[in-house]
């Protein structure tokens, strides 16, 4: 294998659930997501997190309460959503014994320690992680799966090394097609996701060690997590320990059977229609949300209301955010520059409030690829990739 000279010390201790985290009494309140059977518990202190919507205790599915997105561009680690497929990832990982193995269709197999990884030049990317099934609970008709509201997304500053550095040291053989990533959550079917070589070699694809300046907590993939800016989080493999270069397309369950969408232009079909050909889900279409108002909020008649929120897209930087009261006349919002290509972007506007009565508020985003949020939601059997224009029903009084 390659030899690296560690340029700085990288100390990571054993990671475990502390007694305080495991046994502290949980404060729980009842909340309701706005779809049928949407009653959930909001718990504080579970898995070392702040207040989170408990979608599933084991393996953890924790949803970020929506008000968190109004508080800042970056989602705090302790409010960041959590999604595991199985409860098989070890809760204690010996950092000294951990190895990242690179093998398959390569010139040189590698077995890297965390010190080896830390010796490589670091890179930081701010990017949105969004579950492919975020907002699945709004699917109409409903589909089985984790019944998320809109809180299976978050924006963090990820720090690590470019995956490309590791691939270059291993040396991809001619005819390499896909790179498969596997982690330590090994219950069958062993989780693994693949990227095409061109995507994997983008320097912004990271093997991350840190999130918002903190070492990755267990729930977010300690000690290494793949970060694929712009792509749905199913590709952001946690506890990555195995990278295999394939000379063919990956036919493992998680690529060939799961996380697939209809091979139609927008990934949707008519509900109940034959599924037809499918393709692996990939990049995130644009979304935007109002964060400072909620459905049913009351506004003062004949006033000006500040509206603000977030927008993001995995298919190109956000270029435009607009609001509308009727879905026909659209008004430009001011979009902040802070946030970069892959992160949340904040936007705001002043909305004139008319006479007493109901008032709607819609918001839509456009990205540099010309992708615009559709006015109505499409549907697919997995409940994936929802990105329709969001609307609020407000009350002017």
């Amino acid at each position: 294998m390659d030899r690296f000279t560690p340029s700085r010390r990288h100390f990571v201790g054993l990671l475990g659930v502390t007694a305080a985290a495991a046994f502290a009494p949980l404060r729980a309140t009842n909340v309701r997501l706005p779809f049928d059977n949407g009653g959930r518990r909001m718990v504080d202190g579970f898995e070392g997190k702040g207040s989170m919507i408990l979608q599933r205790t084991r393996a953890p599915l924790l949803e970020t309460p929506f008000e968190v997105y109004d508080r800042g561009l970056i989602t705090p680690v302790d409010r960041f959503y959590v999604r595991w497929h199985t409860a098989s990832a070890p809760r204690q990982i010996d950092a000294a014994a951990f190895r990242l193995n690179v093998h398959g269709h390569v010139e040189r197999e590698l077995s890297l320690t965390l010190a080896d990884v830390a010796s490589l030049p670091a890179r930081e990317v701010t990017a949105v992680s969004q579950c492919a099934g975020n907002s699945r609970g709004f699917s109409d008709p409903r589909v089985p799966g984790a019944q998320w509201g809109n809180g299976a997304m978050g924006n963090a500053v990820w720090r690590g090394i470019s995956l490309r550095q590791v691939l270059d040291r291993a040396g991809l053989k001619a005819g390499s097609v896909a790179i498969r990533f596997r982690g330590l959550d090994a219950a069958p079917p062993h989780f693994g996701k693949s990227l095409g070589v061109d995507v994997a070699r983008n320097e912004d694809v990271l093997l991350a060690t840190h999130m918002n300046g903190q070492p990755l907590p267990w729930n977010h993939g300690f000690p290494l997590r793949l970060v694929v800016p712009g792509w749905f989080a199913t590709y952001w493999v946690k506890t990555v320990s195995d990278i295999e270069v394939l000379p063919t397309e990956d036919d493992n369950y998680w690529m060939a059977k799961a996380y697939r969408i209809p091979a139609t232009p927008d990934g949707n079909i008519t509900p109940g229609a034959p599924a037809g050909a499918t393709t692996p889900i990939s990049t995130m279409p644009p979304r935007s949300f109002v964060t400072n108002l909620r459905d049913g909020d009351r506004l003062r008649a004949h006033s000006k209301q500040v509206i603000r929120g977030i927008a993001f897209s995995g298919k190109g930087a956000i270029t435009r955010v607009e609001w509308s009261a009727d879905g026909r006349a659209w008004h430009r919002c001011q979009v902040d520059n802070e946030g970069g290509t892959y992160g949340f972007r904040r936007w705001h506007a002043q909305m004139p409030v008319g006479a007493a009565g109901p008032q709607r508020l819609l918001v839509r985003a456009t990205d540099a690829g010309g992708n615009v949020q559709p006015p109505t939601a499409g549907w697919n059997p997995g409940g994936f990739m929802r990105n329709a224009v969001e609307s609020l029903n407000l009350v002017v009084a």
């Binding site: 495991a22 718990v43 599933r56 084991r58 098989s88 589909v143 984790a146 219950a187 079917p189």
Partner: protein, 100 residues
């Protein structure tokens, strides 16, 4: 290999419950004995938070757990488990499914 992993999964259930102290139980009254396997690998919210599903959808879910996730469900028990899961939702008064 498959058997040993499942034994491991079953063995950690009580640990997970006692360590976190928050995992709800799955009432098994009226359940076929084979239904106990439903919470071997995940806690019961995964069942209770689903939208109203048809028996056919529950059957497809049980078969997916068996085929893809190696849940030790005998073919002869699949229908009984699916019927019980659907009946729980009916008994809980969950809203009926849409047109599809």
């Amino acid at each position: 290999m498959k058997a040993s992993l499942l034994v491991f999964a079953l063995a950690i259930v009580p640990v997970a419950v006692s360590a976190q102290g928050t995992e709800p139980s799955l009432p098994l009254n009226g359940a076929p004995p084979a239904a106990a396997v439903c919470i071997a690998c995940h806690s019961s919210e995964m069942i209770d938070y689903q939208p109203r599903l048809t028996v056919a959808q529950w059957r497809a879910t049980v078969l997916k757990m068996k085929a893809a996730y190696s849940a030790p469900v005998d073919d002869k028990d699949v229908d009984a488990i699916a019927n019980w899961l659907a009946a729980r939702q009916t008994n809980a008064g969950q809203a009926a499914a849409g047109p599809h």
